[in-house]
C-alpha cells in the first residue's frame, strides 16, 4: 500500500519551504492561481503552512462552474424547458440562475442529465429522437473534447450551448483591475498541457509579472511557487515551465488544432468580472448547425448576478479570501450555498469550508 510517487516527500517539502523563506521579500506577496484543482491540492495537502509568512496564494477565476455567468444558466434552463434533454457536468446543476437552478428545473419536470463528457452527451443523442443539448463549460481542458465530438459526425439532434472560456485572457484582465495587487501567477498545469506557454506570453508579456506553470502534486506546487519567488527576487517577470514532466512548451498541437477548427474567439461574460474581449469561444459558422443558441433562439440577455452580501466577485478576482466574506460559513455553506464559489466543488469557498483554508495551525 505504498504511495507510488514521492512527490509528497515531507523532507523535500521542508527544504523547499526553507528556500522560499530565503527568496521571499520582506513585503507582502500575493500569488494567484486560476485553477480549482490547484486550490484543492493546496488546501487538501495543507501547503499554505510551507509558505513564508507574508506570502499568500489565492484562487482567482479558476473554477469553471463559478465563472459561468447567470445568463448562460438561464439559457440552459430555457432550453431544458422546451423539452430537450440538457446534459451537463454535475456541479452546474446547483449554480443559481436568475429564476432557477438546473436542479430546480429538473424538479419541475425538465430532463436534465449529468454527464462526464461531451461524448457521453452525443451518445445520448444517438439513442433518441429528442433534441439533446450539451452545456459546454470549462477551460481549454474541456474545449478540445467538445470540438472532437462536433467533428466526429455528431447526430443532427445534438447541439452545444457553448460557454467555454480562455484562461490567459482572464489572467491579463485581472492585472488591470483595481485592487488586485498580484505579484505572480501560478499557471494551471492541465490547461497548459493543451496551450503550452505561448498564449500566456502573448497575453501577459507587457505586465512583467512572473508566470510559472505548476503541476498538482505537493512538491510540484511548492516548486512552482519557489520559482515565482525567485523571479520576484531577481526583478523578473516571464513565463516559466515549472511542470516540464506534464507540459511541453508548445502544448498539445493536435488539441489546439481541434479548438481552432471548431471555435473562434469571442467576447464573453465572466461571473464576477464582466465581459472580457476574446476570452471565450463561439462555434465557427461552419458549425452553426450545432449551436444551441441558434437552434433554440436564445437571446444574449444578461442575467441578474447581484447577490446581497456575497463577495464571490471579489473572491473570483483574488481581491478577497473566502474567509473575508461575511456570509462564509454562516449563511453560505456547501449545503445551502448563496454564491457560486460555494456551489462548485472547485470553488474557493467550497474548498475552504470543507478543508479549512488558512485556519489550521
Amino acid at each position: 500500500m505504498s504511495r507510488p510517487f514521492h512527490l509528497s516527500d515531507p523532507v523535500r517539502a521542508r527544504q523547499m519551504a526553507d528556500a522560499m523563506a530565503i527568496l521571499a521579500p520582506p513585503t507582502p506577496i500575493k500569488i494567484v492561481h486560476v485553477c480549482g484543482t490547484h486550490e484543492m491540492a493546496i488546501t487538501q495537502h495543507g501547503l499554505r503552512r510551507f509558505l513564508p509568512e507574508k506570502v499568500e496564494i489565492l484562487e482567482g477565476p479558476g473554477c469553471p462552474v463559478c465563472v459561468t455567468p447567470t445568463a448562460d444558466i438561464d439559457a440552459a434552463v430555457q432550453i431544458a424547458e422546451t423539452g430537450a434533454i440538457l446534459c451537463t457536468f454535475g456541479d452546474m446543476t446547483r449554480v443559481p440562475g436568475t429564476r432557477l437552478t438546473l436542479e430546480q428545473a429538473r424538479s419541475n419536470g425538465c430532463d436534465i442529465r449529468v454527464v462526464l463528457s461531451a461524448a457521453e452527451a452525443a451518445n445520448i443523442a444517438k439513442g433518441t429522437d429528442r433534441e439533446v443539448v450539451f452545456f459546454a463549460v470549462g477551460f481549454e481542458t474541456t474545449t478540445p473534447m467538445t470540438a472532437a465530438v462536433l467533428l466526429d459526425d455528431a447526430p443532427t439532434n445534438f447541439s452545444a450551448l457553448v460557454s467555454h472560456k480562455k484562461i490567459p485572457e482572464a489572467m491579463a484582465v485581472l492585472l488591470n483591475l483595481p485592487g488586485t495587487n498580484i505579484h505572480g501567477y501560478l499557471a494551471p498545469g492541465h490547461v497548459s498541457t493543451i496551450l503550452g506557454l505561448a498564449p500566456y506570453a502573448r497575453q501577459l508579456e507587457t505586465f512583467k509579472v512572473p508566470i510559472v506553470v505548476g503541476g498538482f502534486e505537493p512538491l510540484d506546487i511548492l516548486y512552482a511557487i519557489t520559482l515565482i519567488l525567485r523571479q520576484i527576487r531577481d526583478g523578473k517577470g516571464f513565463v516559466e515551465n515549472g511542470f516540464p514532466r506534464g507540459v511541453a512548451n508548445e502544448g498539445n498541437i493536435a488539441a489546439q488544432i481541434l479548438i481552432e477548427t471548431v471555435f473562434e474567439s469571442t467576447e464573453v461574460q465572466w461571473r464576477g468580472i464582466g465581459a472580457i474581449p476574446e476570452s471565450g469561444y463561439r462555434l465557427r459558422d461552419e458549425f452553426a448547425q450545432f449551436d444551441a443558441r441558434l437552434r433554440f433562439n436564445i437571446e444574449g440577455e444578461t442575467g441578474d448576478e447581484h447577490i446581497p452580501g456575497c463577495r464571490c466577485a471579489d473572491v473570483l478576482t483574488a481581491r478577497a479570501t473566502p474567509a473575508d466574506c461575511p456570509l462564509f460559513g454562516e449563511r453560505c455553506t456547501p449545503l445551502s450555498p448563496v454564491g457560486p464559489c460555494m456551489v462548485g466543488t472547485e470553488g474557493a469557498c467550497s474548498i475552504w469550508f470543507r478543508y479549512g483554508g488558512r485556519e489550521i495551525p
Binding site: P10, R49, L116, H190, L219, F353, Y355, G356
Partner: protein
Amino acid sequence: MTHYDDRISPLHGAGGEMMGKLLAEHVLPHFASSQVGRINLSAMDDGATIALPTVGELVMTTDSHVVKPIFFPGGDIGKLAAAGTLNDLAVMGARPLALSLAVIIEENFRMIDVDRIVKSFAETLETSDTPLICGDTKVMGRGEIDGIAINTTGLGIADPAIGDAGAKPGDMVITTGSMGDHGMALMASRQEFHLETELVSDVASIWPMIRTILPLGGIHAMKDPTRGGLAAALNEMAGKSQTTIELVHSSIPIRDEVQALSDLLGISPLEVANEGKAILIVDPGVATSMLETLREHPLGRNAAIIGHVGTQYPGRVVVTTDVGGRRFLDMPLGDPVPRIC
C-alpha cells in the same frame, strides 16, 4: 417452463399459491437451519419467537438496501443487505441473534437473479451463525421500482452495547482495514466511466472478526464507515463526543488501485463507502493488543492505528497530510461527483 418460472410476476407477491411456491422453491431451502426460538421461519407463522436472553441488552437495527448495479464486483445486494445489518449489530458490540428479510421486487425480475441474491444473503448469514426468522415479499409493477429493494432488521445481544459517542482525549483510532474499497469498486463498475479495474468491494460480515476483540475491552466507540466513508464516520464520532480526531494520512491503509482511481476521478477514498470495515476508538492501553488481535483475523489483516483523539477543534476531524500539512476532513455533502477537469 412457463413464464412464471423464470420471471417475477405480480402473482408472486399476492400471498397465494404462486407466492408459496416462490418461497418454498427459492427462499426457504437456503435457510433450512434457521432456528432460534420456539416458532421459526419454517413455521411460516405471522411472527417468529426468540427466547429472551438473561444478561445484556437487546440491540435492534434496520436498514433498507438499494444498490446500482445489483451485482457488483465482490458482491451483490443480498450479501450487502445481510452484511449491512450484521455489521450494524457488530459495531454496537452485539452478537447477532436473528435477522428478518423483506424484499420488494419489480415485476419481470429474473428468477435466477432472485436465486443468486437469496443464496448470497444466506451464505453471509452463515458466516456469522445467524438465523433468518421472518420475512416478507412484495411485487411492484414494471417501472414502479428499480429492480429490487431489500429491508433487513436485525436483533442482537450486547453486554454492554457500544455506542459511537464515547471518544475520550488520548484514545487511539483504529481501522480494521483499507478504506474506500466498496465505494470505488462500485464507481469503477458504473458503465459511464468505461473503466476496467480489478477492484472488488470489501462487503462482508465483520462479526467473526469483532467477536475476537470484544473480550479485550477498552472500546470506547465503534462505527462501520459505510455511506460517506471514514470521513462521515469520524465526523459523527468527533461531533457526538465533542473531541477532535487527529488522523495521520500516511498511516491510513488505502489500496494502490483505489488511490489510483480516486486520483483519476477526483473523489477521495476517505469519503466513499466501506461495507466490511469498522472504525474503533479505544483506550490507549489496549490499542496494541487490539491491533494484534485484529490482524490475526483474515478480515483484519490490514488493520492500522490511524490517529488519536485530541481537543483542539471540538467536533472536527483534522488530518496531517503526507507532505506534512494539516487540513480538516469534513463531513461529505452527499454523493461524490467526479470533477470537471
